[in-house]
Amino acid sequence: MRVDVELRVALAIASVTDLVKVTVEPPSVEPPDLFALTFNDHRVGVSNEQMSFFKANLKLALPEAATEIDGIKEDARLNIGEVTDFVRAALQHAGVDV
């Protein structure tokens, strides 16, 4: 089974900010262009300190990629889509189909 990385990333972001809302089934996210934004965008509202919690939650949801997630900088200026692509690559490298 393929792992839906986008869903887990969106849930991990929503765990630190009320500005992001995720519906699991059917999958949808508010704001709809979440993956084109940066973490510190005013429609996402994540701070550098909250990046620590985002990473910790994402590592628990995707334990196969935990080591590589550790390497993501706690810098809220990162683009969410680029972080997601990196996590997808890390999972695939760990042998998990994405």
Partner: protein, 418 residues
Amino acid sequence: MVLLAAAAAFAQPAPLKITKLVLIPDADNFDVNFNQAVADVAGNVDLANLTLTPASLAVKSIARVGLRPNILRVTLASKIKPGTAVRVVFGTIQGPGELEARGLAAEAVAVTFEDFKKAFLKMQESFKASSEKNIFASGFVTTASTGTQGGMDLALNPNLGIPGLTSFLQIKKSTQAGADPKNFEAGARYRGVLPTAGKMFAEIGRAADEAAIASIVAAHQKGIWQQLMAGTLVDFAGKLEGMGTSFAVANFVGESAVQFRTRTKRFVGRHGYWRGYLLPFGFEGGRGLEENAGGTVPRKVDWLARYKAGLGTTFFYENWYSEFPIRRVELDANGVVRNLFFDERRYDAATKLTDRTGKGVRGYGQVDLKIYLGQSEKGRYGLRLSYNRGSLPPVYSRVKSFQFGFLIETSDDSVERR
């Protein structure tokens, strides 16, 4: 008429185009990223709509990605080998509304995971430190009791590349007596992270499918604590404290602290938010690095022990479509109190000498307000106001100042422009 034509041109959506191909190493699929959402229509995901080279790559399916509406994910019958140059050409792609584009093409070369990771790490290290970003803000005009002079407020947090471990450097310095905290701190910090939603994400990590994830999420989103708090940070740090521009007084200090951090919560409708933290317990202990300094009774070892507590909050508002001249406001308010268990060295502004504090409580508060009035392609500009009061180690120079400055900073977060 000219104005109407200009308004019509302004209202037209940008043409649809491919921004990049993302080839995940060792995967049997790749992503085509568009500059805006692609329509949920059969024509966009029709295999006959895509011409892919090399021809040896057989396409199994094309699908929109549920949470990323600007992506088409192309699944292949086999994995793409590193070094393969992939080119895609779409017959017709429909975007939002009536938007349509023909013959959109893009290409990329598949790389190994090591090269993919290297490119990502290089990208994230390319961001400027916040002190560089706010380089114009860091030189401010300050007004204390008399006169107006300059100052510096610098914070750097270089990444050491070790999970949980970061280094830091902070200088708070002003040339104006009464506005100079004479505070320098540099060291390394290990941070433990305890997310409030950790149990939920551990269950998601074991979930079999999306239906199970939906049940887990529904079961865990009821508690008030979960709704309010993002989690707890536990810090352990070793640092050098100095006076900012000299080490006439210098301490080596070990520190541990616990912080509770809130989630980001909505404030003033959809344009604003707030978040905050509470530091109920922290301990700083160490010693002065200079022997027999200050005081009427010289001592061999100048031991330090302090209890620390603090809190802070951030309010943010942004609306670049507002008719009001103020488009973006950031308010940061932070306070910290320290209870000194031993007397320490202190800077006396009157005598310009160091003597000694008594034991007891020392506080420091800072309120920063940034008001942005406009922005361009180069950055945002506005005003910065700051109020500081109290005293900070290592010399507890008393500060009571109001600072005012013009602010120009690069807009390297995603922004809406008018």
